[in-house]
Amino acid sequence: MSSLTIHDLRKSFGAVEVLKDINLEARPGEFIALVGPSGCGKSTLLAMIAGLESVSSGEIRIDGRLVNDVAPRDRDIAMVFQSYALYPTMTVKENMAFGMESRGVPKADQEKAIARVASLLQIEPLLRRKPAQLSGGQRQRVAMGRALVRDPKLFLFDEPLSNLDAKLRVEMRTEIKKLHHRVAKTTIYVTHDQIEAMTLASRIAVMHKGVLQQFDEPQVIYERPANIFVAGFMGSPSMNFLAARTASLDGAAAVALDLPEGESVLPLPTGTKPQKAPGQPVILGIRPEHFTVAHRAQPGQTALGRLRLPVEVVEPTGSETMVVLRAGDTEITARYEPADAPKVGQTADLLVDMAKACLFDPVTEARL
């Protein structure tokens, strides 16, 4: 039995259908991330799970019980909002107690629960403050504390970190990860930051325009994306997409790229079946980190393609350097070790790790 089951779920606002046939299930204790670009319906889906939006059709079950028409208070869930939604006129302690108070939990038990969570999250010194007197990170922590005191069946998070600045976001991400290890509750976590999804989730559901694109483990989603959208969405900088065609190289199926510098023929990505006759258009997807400087090639590595391209922009970030190369009309971003980075105007000589590249159908956009 799974802790959350969503079956053929649909949602329309008036004539606009914002969620289409969503199927999803979370096993007990699992951490599921819901990612997708803005407006794809993540928050709507979460609100439906929470009971804050009505269901147009389909089923939502929590621990096997159909909850389509159950009020939020009776679903036994806890939720952390992007805005934190801390009650501004209550102290941190009152914020945490409010849910228990509303449910008539005895004072003594309230105190105990608050003490436990406050020590878990190390927010004891903040208990008497009002939310306005807290920093962003502290607020985030309190919002989590409020969700934790209740010991619910399901945790829902709606972009809990997106209001924090970059440094704090990274820290809190790690913290959430540790916390989930500790409490091991089923969690649905909405984010549009794919790194958060990758690092936190046991499975990721990628959504786009109300449709669930892929629902799988992070590594699978990253390495074998179901389609161009998922491939482009996951990973930063984005995967490079190149128009190519099927070809044959040394008798084996291969892909050919037409570049101003002439045609490059590369071996087929590992695991791709050569379904198509040679000469068919395909889209080749290569992630920035799957380029290697030619002279660093390690002996014995197979399935390597070689590209020579002019350098357009060099962006050193310190730990690594991103280099934008021109490949005809398209730009390719490649990741370099800072020491190896070329200069603008030079020509980069790169090996492509075709074992990790992907091929897509240009029409259906699905991976081949």
């Binding site: 609100a47 929470a50 009971g51 804050l52 009020a71 939020p72 208070r73 679903r75 869930i77 806890a78 939720m79 909002f81 992007q82 805005s83 939604a85 009650y87 501004p88 006129t89 209550m90 409010f98 849910g99 509303s102 449910r103 306005a132 007197q133 409020r146 209740r150």
Partner: protein
């Protein structure tokens, strides 16, 4: 463009800058003068008249505090000043509570929201000269609710507050609330709409009922709006004049007299300008009793906000 700028000498630029720096102050000058006249001079003039020998006409010779003494020896003034506090607090709190209640009702995703809003808000647009009479008819036992109830067969029905000297002031409160609660409703409703909807969602998930959500979460978070409504209503309350005139004429007896009426009667009908001015100064003191704490509260809030960044 670059060239054009370089041709200008720094000194002419400096002169222009100085002029530009003074423009706001120059433009504000007429308002400043008007306010000095209206706020400062008028108040000082009234203050002086209140300690002068004025009776029939203004007389600028100093006469000491006799008008204040006479004022506080006057039973009608004591009634009026007491009424100011009774009426003021009931009217303000009543309008606030009623307005809040209406705002919450309208906030429940009702159909035709703008129609309901207009119905509750329209009394603010109509002067009491217009509706006082009508309220008078409604509250008067021989023509209004009581008569209607009796005609309907409730022989013992009794609603005679307006002719009862102990209760008449509450009729003034009711009519005042009728006029002002829509205004409170409008402000509070807008306040409710500005409350982060996530707070309500969070509270729902926390298991609170809607009543509890309003009481504990939503209403407390729009406290600044309540304070603003409070101050505007208090200011109305203190200036109340035509409401009472149209509704009870200050009666039965003296029971619904308020200071504004007293000032008008003494200054103009009775020809006791000095005592009227003294009464006006007492109104200003009552105002100060409200405004000074409000100003302190605002200053405190600002400082606290500054402290919290």
């Amino acid at each position: 463009m670059t060239l054009a700028l370089d041709h200008r000498s720094d000194s002419s630029l400096a002169w222009r800058n100085r002029l530009a720096a003074w423009t706001p102050r120059l433009v504000l000058l007429p308002t400043i003068l008007a306010s000095v006249l209206y706020v400062l001079i008028f108040t000082l003039w009234t203050l002086w008249i209140s300690v002068s020998n004025s009776t029939l006409l203004p007389n600028l010779t100093y006469g000491g505090f006799k008008h204040y003494v006479a004022l506080w020896n006057h039973q009608r003034w004591t009634i009026a000043y007491t009424n100011l506090f009774v009426f003021g607090s009931l009217y303000v709190l009543g309008s606030l509570i009623l307005g809040t209640f209406l705002a919450i009702l309208i906030d429940q995703r009702v159909r035709g929201e703008s129609v309901w809003r207009a119905i509750y808000l329209y009394p603010l647009a109509i002067s009491f000269v217009v509706t006082g009479t009508s309220w008078r008819w409604i509250l008067d036992p021989s023509t209004g609710i009581e008569a209607m109830l009796r005609n309907m067969g409730f022989e013992n029905a009794s609603f005679d507050w307006i002719v009862n000297r102990d209760m008449a002031i509450y009729c003034v409160v009711i009519a005042g609330m009728w006029q002002a609660s829509g205004f409170a409703m409008a402000l509070i409703l807008a306040g409710l709409r500005s409350v982060d909807q996530d707070l309500i969602k969070a509270a729902q998930i926390d298991g609170a009922s809607m009543a509890r959500i309003y009481r504990r979460v939503v209403l407390p978070s729009i406290r600044p709006i309540f304070v603003a409504v409070l101050v505007i209503l208090l200011q109305f309350a203190i200036k109340t004049f035509d409401l009472v005139y149209a509704l009870t004429g200050g009666g039965p007896g003296l029971s619904t007299n308020v200071p504004a009426i007293y000032v008008y009667d003494l200054m103009f009908q009775r020809g006791q300008i000095g005592q009227g001015a003294a009464a006006a100064i007492m109104i200003l003191l009552a105002l100060a009793a409200v405004l000074v704490p409000y100003a302190l509260y605002m200053a405190w809030r600002q400082r606290r906000e500054a402290a919290n960044g």
